[in-house]
């Protein structure tokens, strides 16, 4: 069974994503995955499918129209969304009717939200993933953001029960964002005072998210970190993992997301894996502070997070 959906308003930016591209880092191909992978997983659970393409949307006023009955779900940022005039629950799936219009009117918490369907959006997998590499224009829908009038064709549409993610499995997304970090390879390049203010409890420096943010990275404003006099301000370019916090010569942090495999600035820290989904929800003027944890603590938090994904799967019967 196939059906189609017409994009009526793509909001600020909407694109097709999934859990990302792996295995081509040696030739510089980044993951380009959904920034909030947990929200993406929640959609997979609500829609009873794995690794399907979903939409990642920024900004209010997103709208699309259904040309047949299909189950749809929204997760990620908390939004005020309506199917025609009916308000929709956040982090839930709902049954849409032919001709009905889904409108997102307002974002009340967080920044990016995710929309998926009980069917597979027809898109070409490039190097094993549907994720859009916006900078290089491949993946997703011809490598481009969605625009008004685009038609998404759904294949393998299924009739499924609608479901709701319970509140205790929906993470907070509002500013201030307290992000746990693990020391990075060049943490030793910064003086003791800078490091203390960067990540020690009781000394927290609050940073502000600048307007210089996109899917590649997030620049923060605040008190610059100070390099030790003997420390080099750039390093020989080297592989980086998503969530790496780089400090360029001006001392202000850049949080790298999922679009670069290599970096050339001092890596003071890495956002704990369990907290990386939160990065999808940092928006201009939000407050951010960092809290240092050990790598073992990071592993433990990640295992806990994975348990929550298993809980999602069992609640929705998609395990």
């Amino acid at each position: 069974m196939t059906s189609a959906i017409t994009v009526r308003n793509p909001a600020l930016l909407s694109l097709i994503v999934d859990l990302g591209r792996t295995g081509f880092g040696a030739v510089g191909v980044p993951s380009s995955s959904a920034l909030d992978r947990y929200a993406c997983q929640a959609l997979y659970c609500l829609l009873n499918r794995a690794n399907a393409p979903v939409l990642e949307v920024m900004g209010p006023r997103f709208a699309l129209q259904f040309d047949s009955d299909v189950v749809c779900a929204i997760a990620g940022a908390r939004v005020k969304a309506f199917l025609d005039e009916t308000p929709l629950r956040p982090w839930a799936s709902f049954q849409s009717k032919k001709g009905s219009i889904l409108r997102v009117k307002e974002i009340t918490e967080g920044f990016r939200y995710y929309i998926g369907f009980a069917g597979r959006i027809k898109a070409e997998a490039v190097m094993g993933s549907y994720a859009t590499n916006l900078e290089c224009r491949f993946g997703g829908l011809n490598g481009a953001p969605l625009k008004s009038g685009d038609i998404l064709h759904l294949e393998e549409s299924q009739e499924i029960e609608t479901n709701v993610i319970p509140l205790n499995l929906i993470p907070p997304m509002n500013s201030p964002h307290i992000l746990r970090v693990i020391e990075g390879p060049e943490a030793g390049s910064f003086n003791d005072g800078s490091r203390r203010h960067f990540w020690e409890k009781g000394y927290h420096e609050l940073f502000t998210v600048s307007t210089n943010l996109n899917r590649t990275g997030i620049r923060l404003n605040g008190t610059p970190l100070v390099f030790k006099p003997e420390a080099p301000k750039s390093i020989v370019s080297e592989g980086i993992v998503p969530g790496t916090i780089q400090i360029p010569g001006d001392g202000l942090p850049i949080i790298m997301l999922n679009e670069r495999t290599i970096g050339g600035y001092a890596r003071v820290a890495v956002i704990a894996r369990a907290d990386q989904d939160r990065l999808a929800h940092l928006k201009a003027n939000d407050l951010v502070c960092f809290e240092r944890i050990t790598v073992e603590e990071g592993e433990r938090l990640w295992r806990e997070k994975q348990k929550r994904i298993v809980q999602l799967q069992s609640l929705t019967g998609s395990a």
Partner: protein, 214 residues
Amino acid sequence: MIIQRYAENALRIIFGNQIDMEVHEKVRRAFFLLISLHRHDIIEIIPSFCSCLVIYEDDLTSYQTLAGLLNERLADLSAVEMPPPQVHEIPVHYGSDYGPDLSFVAGHCQLTVAEVIERHCAEIYTVFTVGFTPGFPYMGTLDERIAAPRLETPRTRIPAGSVGIAQRQTGIYPFESPAGWRIIGRTDIRLFDPARPPYSLMQIGDKVRFIEEH
């Protein structure tokens, strides 16, 4: 060789701390050895100038297990089987709109434009790593007489195929993208094709020669 942990699910295998051919050769050997292990717990290997970054599946292994194993397997890099480096000849239109920084580089280096082009074409470069954007080769070593600093403020958009230099390196931008290097020319050769394996024209260890196209 030193193995260091980096985040919960990654480790760095470090062979030195500066750009040189000896370190590069070790990185390259380690990269091809890592591939030949065909390990399901390794999900990404990113070789660069001085190290290999390995991202692993932590459900299948642990840092201790993997680091122990790699310490053993990488101890002897002398017998690694590797593909021979490919040699690429890249025709370049130098200067004018293709290379807006060519005259800056000539002025900075107190050379004529023709001398800069001649020196850029004289070397056979080695691809030290591929990254920044998919297929971007970081190549060295550039003749120090034409070395120029990066731009203070990167350009937000340059065309695909732009050939840049920065310090002792040269590179080619496969996609329209932001760029901080001095752009001296442009090639029509396609460096990355997402529709066709192996996708990237170049990989670590390849050799490159530029040819002036008139």
